[in-house]
């Protein structure tokens, strides 16, 4: 005798269902994707979508249980779906209560590289006027330890932060001293080209659990062309620094990011191969951002979104095939999106946050004491646009900065659930507000989304990822693994 009642016992006696809130978008010529309030998704043909909305789907159809289990419909006596959706939504937004985890210290604007696409308007190596002072660092640390977040990450950026390593050392020691009292989860990252790394620096990093985030644009010729420095040996310096740093800090404590230039476009497989050759387990395929030198040197306009998407798709396809042949390797942007698609966890990636990550996910203390709402904000400021300059640590209090109209207006106006088109978009749970990007390009925190390359690029990526999962079981399983890595 079965221990369970037959299936019919669990079906509505009236064969009625109600809709739960959901949105939809066309996925391809045949199918539409449906997403609910928390980002659970389902792909159905257009005719089926119409039947769902018209309450024509019956319990004996296979789609019925999918719709019910993924919270697109509920039956009149069901209580759990409403409570579960509320709980998942609360989990998704729980990071808001503990705002500002990432604190970026721009310890110097000096740099030994002169990359034409650099998103920071760099200064030459010998101008000490572009270094952070201890007085500014102290005030910035006052600010850092006012965050309600249990976890504090301090990231050192530049320029090249190793050119002012004394300030890095000072901030780390001071932060640890303060943390001995407040007991937060304190972590440090240095964003560095690795060209100036020394045994002394690595020894300090090892002793204070500092991890390194670096840049690798691809094979030697491409990397050196993208990232000029004296002697044209950026790639050689990177590899030497990488090997030393891995030995000193541990293999996985050194990561790398790439930036796509026009010269990268025909070379995506070579770039991925270079990451593999150097032992990395993944790559972040990143387009150029419209800030700093990328705009001044017109690099930003050297290729369009469509061409970058071809580059991304070709690279992603190559990575999937590598995995199919047994080589474990992932694409980080895809992984971030998959985490948003398949889990209730927000991976905390600033570009894909709503409300935007401005100030509440990350905040920047510039070398001159200026407080900026994000890394991109200070890059805009170096170009003369101070829209996101929130104050200065030397004269403004934490409350004045965090409650400033400049910050709150940008957060409120760009909130995607009240923005035209975003508020109806099925991909909204996966996407982000990005007011700095839209302000930089459109002079508007929101912009008209049909004209937004950010919207166009991400919509295409979301559709591509869903299409790949829909069409291939191996890819679906692989993406499921990637979704839990962030």
């Amino acid at each position: 005798m079965s221990k369970f009642q037959p299936l019919a016992s669990f079906l509505s006696s009236h064969h009625e269902y109600k809709l739960l809130p959901f949105k939809f978008e066309q996925l391809n010529d045949q199918d539409y994707v449906l997403t609910n309030l928390t980002g659970d998704y389902l792909s159905v043909p257009r005719a089926q979508l119409n039947r769902i909305v018209e309450h024509q789907v019956t319990p004996d159809e296979p789609i019925y249980s999918d719709l019910r289990s993924k919270h697109f419909i509920y039956e009149p006596n069901d209580i759990a779906p409403v409570e579960l959706l509320g709980l998942k939504l609360r989990t998704k937004y729980s990071r808001l209560a503990e705002f500002t985890n990432l604190h970026i210290f721009v310890v110097t604007l000096r740099c030994d590289h002169s990359c034409p696409y650099c998103q920071v308007s760099r200064q030459s190596e010998d101008k000490a006027a572009f270094d952070m002072t201890p007085a500014m660092a102290d005030k910035a640390l006052d600010f850092v330890f006012k965050t309600p977040s249990k976890a504090i990450k301090i990231e050192f950026q530049g320029g090249e932060p190793l050119l002012n390593f004394e300030m890095v050392r000072y901030v780390v020691l001071e932060a640890e001293k303060r943390n001995a009292v407040t007991q937060r989860e304190l972590a440090f990252v240095i964003a560095t080209t690795l060209s100036l790394v020394t045994d002394d620096i690595l020894s300090f990093c090892r002793d204070h659990n500092i991890v390194l985030s670096s840049s690798l644009d691809g094979p030697e010729e491409l990397h050196n062309a993208n990232r000029p420095r004296p002697n044209r040996n950026s790639h050689q310096k990177f590899v030497e620094g990488l090997n030393k740093a891995r030995l000193a800090l541990g293999f996985d404590n050194v990561s790398a990011l790439m930036t796509t230039t026009e010269a990268s476009l025909p070379m995506v497989n070579d770039i991925i191969d270079e990451y593999l050759r150097l032992g990395f387990r993944g790559i972040f395929l990143r387009p150029l951002s419209p800030y700093g030198f990328a705009i001044k040197t017109k690099k930003y306009r050297s290729y369009n979104t469509q061409r970058w998407l071809e580059f991304y798709k070709e690279g992603l396809n190559y990575i999937i095939e590598l995995n199919r042949s047994g080589v474990k390797f992932s694409e980080h942007y895809t992984s971030l999106i998959l985490t948003k698609m398949m889990t209730s966890t927000d991976p905390g990636y600033v570009d894909l946050m709503n409300p935007a990550g401005l100030g509440i996910a990350a905040i920047v203390f510039n070398y001159d004491g200026g407080v900026y709402a994000s890394d991109e904000s200070r890059m805009l400021a170096e170009m003369g646009d101070q829209t996101f300059l929130l104050g200065n640590v030397l004269v403004n209090t934490y409350e004045e900065v965090m409650l400033s109209d400049k910050l709150l207006d940008a957060l409120e106006e760009s909130f995607t659930l009240s923005v035209p088109m975003c508020s109806d978009c099925a991909f909204e749970p996966y996407c982000g507000a990005e007011p700095v990007y839209h302000h930089a390009i459109h002079k508007d925190f929101v912009a008209k989304k049909p004209e937004s390359e950010f919207c166009n690029r991400n919509m295409s990526i979301f559709k591509h990822i869903l299409g790949l999962m829909h069409s291939d079981k191996f890819t679906k399983q692989l993406f499921l693994e990637w979704s839990t890595r962030c």
Partner: protein, 97 residues
């Protein structure tokens, strides 16, 4: 560039749906709206050069988008109460003021 005129019966198509569809196509058309008795008249002026074939394709897509927007409005109307209930549950114990 030639202007294409489409007419929609307001008893079938809510003007909200037409406006939302026009917004989504603003990179392809500038849409002017007018009303004549029960008919909503949409004049679509292309924003960029396009072949007749391309224009016909985009107009067909616009019509499909109007239907999608009608469906979106139906879902929104039916689910507004439960949406507010879910949001209430989500934020009731968040500590946010």
């Amino acid at each position: 560039m030639s202007v294409t005129t489409l007419t929609f019966d307001e008893r079938i198509y809510p003007v909200d749906a037409l406006q939302k569809a026009a917004y989504r196509f603003m990179n392809l058309f500038v849409v002017d709206f007018s009303i004549d008795k029960n008919l909503i008249i949409c004049s679509l002026k292309p924003t960029q050069n396009s072949s007749q074939e391309g224009m016909d394709y985009h107009i067909d897509e616009f019509k499909k988008e109007v239907l999608d927007q009608v469906l979106r409005l139906k879902i929104k109307a039916e689910t507004e109460d439960v949406r507010n209930l879910i949001l209430g549950i989500a934020f009731s114990k968040s500590g946010f003021q």
